[in-house]
């Protein structure tokens, strides 16, 4: 499984890893800040009694964070396997 990457492969590997990182960082920024910026407007909508602006800060963003962590783990595993550099 394990091998040493050539400089070109390393560049491609790190390119894919970095773009995954930037994608997740953008999503992180969205769920940490952007969505709550609109909390006053979102509070106009209610589901199960929850005003949505409140709900996003109390649960919605948290669920997104958990999903993002597992998604990062599995997407990075796929990249590792594609390049044959997984450590398991």
């Amino acid at each position: 499984m394990s091998k040493k990457l050539s400089p070109d492969e390393m560049k491609a590997y790190w390119g894919k890893t970095s773009s995954l990182m930037w994608t997740l960082l953008a999503l992180w920024f969205f769920f940490s800040f952007v969505v709550h910026f609109f909390a006053p407007q979102l509070n106009g909508i209610r589901i199960l009694g929850f005003p949505i602006g409140f709900y996003m800060a109390a649960q919605g963003s948290l669920i997104a964070f958990v999903v993002m962590c597992f998604w990062n783990a599995s997407a990075q595993n796929k990249i590792d396997e594609e390049f044959g550099v997984s450590d398991e």
Partner: protein, 634 residues
């Protein structure tokens, strides 16, 4: 080796072992319930809970004792992702999360959700920016990485300084938490309680270091999550008919909003960024986002959390483990707002407007002297029955008004079992959960501090020739000294220092985050980039912390209108542009990145060997390509 065989059979049977443990704990709770039924006094039940749980942690600590350096520092790198997630959950969730957060949400409403967001979202940063690469680097401490990446002892020492400042203020606050819980349930003095807590902390970590702390933290997580969920699940079933508080408190929120209108409360529980009159407030919004940023970035920089990811068997498992950590933390954090909502509904609906003579029993039992967490301050002499009423005079009409009701934030979680009409055994369970939360966090922090001193300062800088036996003796001695020192500070200064927890996040965020991110993601950055990122970030943060907290008036004299003076903690504290000084990281974090970037651009770039080293930690497989001057892996 018999030890190794026992070890692998332990690791292969983790599910069964912790399953049996959980079952035994449930049986123990039922047994105490039966004792209560037969009239055993509450105080004895409280003692049973506190000492039996500490006894179990001590037993795990004893069974995990070790004479191997890698087991002591990184649990032999054998902790599976799932269990490391649980251990991180316990490591992460402190007394402030377990007891304090629901109280903050009760009082702060929407604005306090900044804590819920800030204390979870940081794990995304840990997952994408830090954990896998630090695990691949594969040594013992966070300063190890800074030292290797940024040219040796200067960077290592700076990282140790940041680590100790952030972790020490944090651990003192944890021991205060242990002291409060122990003194409340055992009726002993606060200082004595701090030292009882200290014993509880040391028995877990002294003999087995990280290995012992890991397996006790898993045990502590199980207790704390059971203790947190049970009361509010029952409360939800009673109030709404459905035992899923996280979904059902929406109904409570609706009722609260309706009651707020009848009671004439302008600032709604669910209203974002509102001032006391209920109008939109820019300052409140800025503070909300500043606090979220500081807490999240702080999460991704606190060494006692980062070092948990050094313990997994592989890089892949380190990544999975961040997901599990956040999942286990999420279980508690997405429940906390429901505690606040159900408690508020009970207060608005049942208490306010009721005759003072016929209030529910929980008000008097949690309001009596010694606890003093609740007060119905209607009569002129209310302070004699409810010490929390001191200074509040009611109108004496025999009816409880909103302005006559006092409640301490800690009462929200602690009193919920009794509000729901549950027997005392559940209150004892909650105390055991709070104790588990405080002890586990204190253990992780103490170990981070002691390891930095024994490994980074003593072994790496003072006596690199020391043999294994000597290193472990030194580690344990330092651990004990730091623990006693922290307990002494906690016992002397008391509960007034809980605000230090938030400071710890700003300090770690300003001091370490930029250096770690640049170290991993900016291959060309030379030694100076990391050194200046730490130095300037930490310097700016500490400067603003100290001047705003202690020299507020002088700062206003110098800076004029951008400073607002707020009277808190008995001082004139300065808020720059209205920003609460717990969020000083908002100045430190950008300063740190800027300093690191400028220093990196102005000095020679990293050597080819160093860049080679960075390439090797970016890839999960293969060896770490050490640059000259770096110590080999142990």
């Amino acid at each position: 080796m018999a030890g190794a065989a026992a070890n692998s059979s332990f690791l292969n049977n983790l599910g069964r072992i912790y399953g049996i443990y959980t079952g035994t704990f449930a049986g123990f709770v039922i047994l105490i319930g039966i004792l209560e039924f037969f009239g055993v006094p509450d105080k004895i039940l409280g003692y049973l809970f506190v000492f039996l749980t500490i006894g179990v942690y001590a037993l795990i600590g004893w069974l995990s004792r070790t004479a191997e350096v890698s087991e002591y520092y990184v649990a032999g790198r054998s902790v599976p992702a799932f269990y490391n997630g649980m251990a991180t959950g316990a490591d992460w969730m402190s007394a402030a999360s377990f007891i304090g957060m629901a109280g903050s949400l009760y009082f702060g409403g929407y604005d306090a959700l900044a804590f819920v967001l800030g204390w979870t979202g940081g794990y995304v940063l840990v997952s994408i920016l830090m954990a896998p690469y630090l695990r691949k680097f594969g040594q013992f401490t966070v300063p190890d990485f800074c030292g290797a990446r940024f040219g040796g002892n200067t960077a290592r020492t700076l990282a140790v300084i940041v680590l100790i400042t952030a972790s020490f203020v944090y651990v003192v606050a944890q021991i205060v938490g242990v002291g409060i819980i122990t003194s409340r349930f055992l009726g002993m003095g606060f200082q004595t309680a701090c030292f009882v807590g200290l014993i509880g902390i040391l028995v877990c970590s002294m003999l087995g270091g990280m290995k012992a702390v890991t397996w006790t933290q898993v045990a502590q997580y199980i207790i704390l999550i059971i203790a947190y969920l049970i009361p509010v699940i029952i409360m939800s079933a009673q109030v709404t008919g459905v035992p899923v508080p996280q979904l059902m408190y929406g109904q409570a929120l609706e009722k609260i909003e309706a009651l707020e209108k009848t009671l004439g409360i302008a600032k709604s529980h669910v209203a974002p960024f509102a001032d006391a009159r209920g109008n939109f407030s820019m300052t409140s919004m800025i503070n909300y986002f500043a606090l979220i940023l500081c807490l999240m970035v702080g999460t991704a920089s606190l060494p006692h959390i980062l070092m948990r990811y050094f313990t997994t068997p592989s890089v892949r498992q380190a990544r999975d483990s961040v997901g599990w950590s956040l999942f286990f933390i999420f279980l508690l954090y997405f429940t906390a707002p429901s505690y606040a909502a159900f408690a508020k509904l009970e207060v608005y609906q049942t208490l306010i407007g009721s005759p003072v003579a016929s209030l529910p029993a929980w008000v008097s039992s949690w309001g009596k002297p010694g606890l003093a967490l609740v007060g119905a301050c209607d009569a002129a002499n209310a302070a004699q029955i409810f010490p929390i009423c001191a200074g509040v005079t009611g109108n004496g009409d025999g009816i409880l008004q909103l302005s006559e009701f006092r409640i301490h934030p800690d009462a929200i979680v602690l009193a919920t079992p009794e509000i729901a009409g549950l027997p005392y055994v559940i209150a004892g369970l909650v105390a055991a959960g709070g104790l588990a939360a405080a002890l586990s966090t204190a253990d992780g922090l103490l170990l981070a501090i002691a390891n930095a001193l024994s490994h980074d300062i003593y072994y790496k800088m003072i006596d690199p020739e020391a043999d294994t036996k000597r290193r472990l003796v030194i580690s344990r001695v330092i651990l004990a000294i730091v623990a006693v020192l922290a307990a002494y500070v906690a016992g002397t200064l008391g509960a007034d220092i809980l605000f230090l927890v938030s400071w710890a996040f700003s300090i770690a965020a300003s001091g370490l985050f930029a250096a770690l991110v640049l170290g991993i993601w900016w291959k060309k950055g030379g030694d100076a980039s990391g050194i200046f990122a730490m130095l300037i970030g930490y310097g700016v943060c500490m400067f603003f912390l100290i001047t705003t907290e202690f020299y507020g008036v002088a700062l206003k004299g110098m800076l004029g209108d951008i400073v607002t003076i707020v009277k808190i903690r008995g001082r004139d504290v300065a808020y720059l542009w209205g920003i609460n000084n717990i969020s000083v990281g908002i100045f430190g974090i950008p300063a740190s990145f800027l300093a690191g970037w400028v220093a990196g651009k102005m000095t020679p770039e990293a050597s080819p060997e160093m860049q080679n080293f960075i390439d090797s930690i970016r890839v999960p497989s293969g060896d770490v390509a050490l640059a000259p001057g770096m110590a080999a892996k142990e």
